[in-house]
């Protein structure tokens, strides 16, 4: 009993941890501490019989429930629920350990794990879930023993058998689970997080840029999307997400772009990417610059070549984009000059003076652009991700005193300079670069790669891409993501799993299920018309036969050497003496009447081992085989 009880307790604590760990990052302090504390309490105090009594447990549950229920509203569903679950789990763990409470605790741990998917549906979930289910099934079996046969004290060997049979169940269930996985519908996205995306989870590009509003840039390595495509040159990896074309005070914002005339199509090569996008609140779908068309997403592209995400993007999704790479110009005829040359407030007078001077010297937009580029390079600015200038005069500090800034300052300063010189300009927000996974052939793009660059409209050309951050003396070096090659490789390896998980599981939806079914139907129909895919059928049947043979051999092998010897012995006795030994009768009694030393010796050696619950040694096996031969020989001689 003690053993079963101790084992169930250990399993319970592991289950609680498995349920708690994935949820912990989203819990508030008290519930986050409550679960590990309860496990520790149950482990230490529970051994001495100290438990959390019913009344205090009830009071804490009610208080916790009330506190978090008050935070519950339409926009905040998941978090209170998760916290309440964690508190209930902690209370159950610290309380009395009856089989009923055990079951409730493990169920709560399962709920906690399930609740974590309201925030994040990552492939780690499946590992936790599988482990938890294994623990759950083993615990269920042990609890069944605990409540049905409380006096049963299994020997260590029996306990091992019980645990292995319990483990056999989920393994047997696995083929069924896989079958159900393919035939039953499922939920594919963290349901509630779409309603209540916490601020920290907002991914992607903001729709307002205000130079000098932060002193450091994000360094989050959370992958936002993966793009399946061939390897391309690093300076072609600009992922277009949004365009900020209008001014509001001193900020850059997005307005509906004015209509544009059609220009000559751009030169360059076409490249198709399949993008797997993580859930987030991007208003537009990321696509490699310069995107031409999109497959697998609804909605018309905007005039400035953005693809609206038609609804809040609550689930991982995939789509394909055809982009023009090797070209920096987005074709456009005439544009609304006035709209694209409005200046923001608080432009540094020195910057304005520089623009005016350039405008005075040259008439063509292209020349003005070149002059401004030269001027910015001569400023010898450097790129930095922290210690950035802030405040209303941030741009002044950036350009003329501190000379340190990040992409936002470079881009807004340059776009302002262009507009000041009368060249229509806009900001393009997105991502730059990405880690290429050669194993699976895709780019993983993380939050930290967020980037801002500029498009300037030039007469006769269209919108020309300029990345002002490249004017920095240290651009390439500063933008490099610092990782040792080993950690980078490990990360890529782990990410490969994420990628295949997304491909195989997340994006496998009802549509894919129908597709699979209709494919099968089509195959069947073609089968009927007489085009028998003989080779495939033969291969399949051969494979199944092999599997069956392997399974047969695997089970056959379970007849041990002892069993085989006994079987042979029985056969010999039957043949020689016409004696059938019943499975249930003892060997000694069965051979009592046989006057044959070899028979008696066989029984003595065999039972000497088996009745002591040990296996035969090699020597004994040889001896028994020899004896069998002797008995057979006797038979022949008689």
């Amino acid at each position: 009993m003690l053993r079963i009880k101790v084992l169930t307790e250990l399993l319970l604590y592991s289950a609680a941890l498995l349920g708690y760990l994935p949820l912990a990052p989203w819990l508030q302090v008290f519930p986050a501490l409550a679960v590990p504390t309860a496990i520790l309490f149950a482990f230490v105090a529970g051994r001495r019989g100290v438990i959390l009594k019913e009344l205090p447990a009830l009071l804490v549950s009610v208080a916790g429930f009330a506190y978090f229920a008050l935070q519950f509203n339409r926009h905040n569903v998941a978090e209170p629920v998760a916290n309440i679950l964690a508190i209930l789990l902690a209370i159950r763990l610290a309380g009395e350990k009856s089989p009923r409470n055990f079951l409730q605790s493990i169920t709560l741990a399962l709920f906690c794990l399930a609740a974590s998917t309201l925030f994040d549906l990552s492939p780690r979930f499946i590992v936790y879930l599988l482990l938890l289910l294994l623990i759950f099934t083993v615990s269920l079996v042990l609890l069944t023993f605990q409540s049905s046969a409380p006096d049963f004290k299994p020997a260590p060997k029996e306990l091992r058998t019980i645990v292995s049979v319990a483990l056999l169940q989920p393994l047997t269930a696995l083929p069924l689970i896989i079958l159900f996985f393919f035939i039953l519908p499922r939920t594919q996205f963290p349901l509630w997080s779409s309603i209540s995306l916490a601020g920290s989870e907002l991914t992607g590009i903001s729709d307002t840029v205000q130079p000098g509003d932060k002193n450091a840039v994000s360094s989050s390595r959370v992958t936002l999307f993966r793009a399946e495509m061939p390897l391309v040159a690093p300076d072609e990896l600009y992922w277009r997400v949004t365009v900020l074309n209008a001014i509001k005070g001193s900020s850059w914002v997005r307005r509906q772009p004015p209509a544009e005339g059609k220009g000559t199509p751009p030169q360059g090569k076409e490249l198709q990417q399949t993008i797997f996008l993580e859930p987030g609140r991007l208003a537009f779908l990321p696509a490699l610059n310069l995107p031409q068309s999109i497959i697998g997403a609804r909605g018309e592209p905007t005039a400035d070549r953005l693809f609206p995400a038609t609804m809040l993007q609550m689930r991982r999704r995939s789509y394909s984009v055809i982009s023009q790479v090797g070209s920096d110009t987005l074709a456009a005829g005439r544009v609304d000059q006035k709209f694209y040359t409005i200046l923001p407030e608080n432009v540094p007078p020195r910057l304005l003076a520089l623009s005016r001077a350039v405008a005075g010297r040259e008439n063509s937009g292209e020349k003005r652009l070149q002059l401004l580029q030269t001027a910015f390079i001569e400023l010898r600015l450097s790129y930095a991700a922290s210690g950035l200038p802030t405040g209303a005069d941030a741009m002044e500090k950036f350009l003329f005193t501190g000379k340190k800034g990040h992409c936002e300052l470079f881009a807004t300063a340059f776009a302002t300079a262009l507009r000041g010189a009368g060249v229509p300009a806009r900001l393009v927000g997105g991502y730059y670069g990405g880690e290429y996974n050669e194993l699976a052939g895709y780019y993983a793009v993380a939050e930290e790669r967020a980037h801002l660059w500029v498009e300037a409209w030039l007469e006769g050309k269209g919108w020309v891409t300029i990345d002002p951050s490249r004017f920095a003396v240290n651009f390439e070096e500063a933008r490099r993501v610092r990782s040792s090659s080993l950690t980078l490789r490990l990360r890529l390896f782990a990410d490969t799993f994420n990628y295949y998980w997304n491909r195989a599981v997340i994006t496998y939806d009802l549509e894919s299920q129908f597709a699979a079914v209709s494919r099968m139907g089509a195959e069947l129909r073609s089968f009927k018309t007489g085009r028998l895919p003989l080779r495939r059928v033969a291969t399949g049947a051969g494979f199944l036969l092999l599997l069956a043979a392997a399974a047969y051999l695997a089970t056959r092998k379970r007849a041990t050497a002892e069993e085989r010897l006994l079987k042979a012995f029985r056969r010999v006795l039957q043949k020689r003496y016409g004696l059938a030994i019943a499975a249930s009768s003892g060997l000694h009694e069965a051979v009592q009447g046989i006057n044959n030393d070899a028979v008696q010796e066989f029984v003595a050696v065999y039972t000497g081992a088996i009745y002591r619950d040990r296996r035969l040694t090699g020597e004994e096996r040889e001896r028994l085989k020899r004896l069998l031969g002797e008995i057979r020989g006797n038979g022949a001689g008689a």
Partner: protein, 252 residues
Amino acid sequence: MLGFMAASGVFGLRNLQRLDLLLLLPDEIYPGVPAQATLQVTTRSRSLPHFLLKFHLPGAVAAVPFLRRGDSIRLRVPVIFSQRGAGSIDRIAVTSPFPVNFFVRSISSKVAASYLVFPGPKPLPAGAAAGEENAPGERTRQRQGGSGELEGISPYTGREPLKLVHWKLSARHDELFVKEMQSEQGTPLTINPDELPGTFEERLSRAVFLINSLMAAGKAVGLQLGAESLRPGISRSHRLKLLGKLACHAPD
């Protein structure tokens, strides 16, 4: 979840299958009194053991928490029958909560065991002619006693004096046996239930009481049941024959 439920269902069903049951009921059973039955359980399963089995017998449940594959065990189960008469147990319900305690799965397994429940012994009311001398009936010779010649061996029923236990024989089996000795004195008696006080059932019960107590005291006892007459005897088998007649006796 569906996969798990299906798998646990299969495991639960397999746990109850491939069991051979053999039920041996004692030859002396009284209503309401526990009688030691022997249930032999043999598994034909070569792959997996059986867990948490319960065998439901009249008035008793035998539990086997763990039965190794290919194993055979004997269980002593105190069964209780409520009514006198002959009968048989054709099937036994085998249940198990394994693998999970949400459902108890049950199958009914074949056994063929017939039994005979004797009327429960009931002492004669105070004041009525109690005791061997005044017991109603005809007196003849022969009786069972504690001395004299050994007449037979029979299982111990709890009524025999301990000095009659055949220790040597009992040591070789897992139950006690007693020696049946011939008595050297006493008067044979024939009991007629119709002459005993009480209702029909009470008369049968009293007859059983008289037969048991008189024969335990070494007297030879016979029985008069309506027109049927059984000669007095002293052996255990004779006593069981008399009790059997009473068990199956129906009112005219």
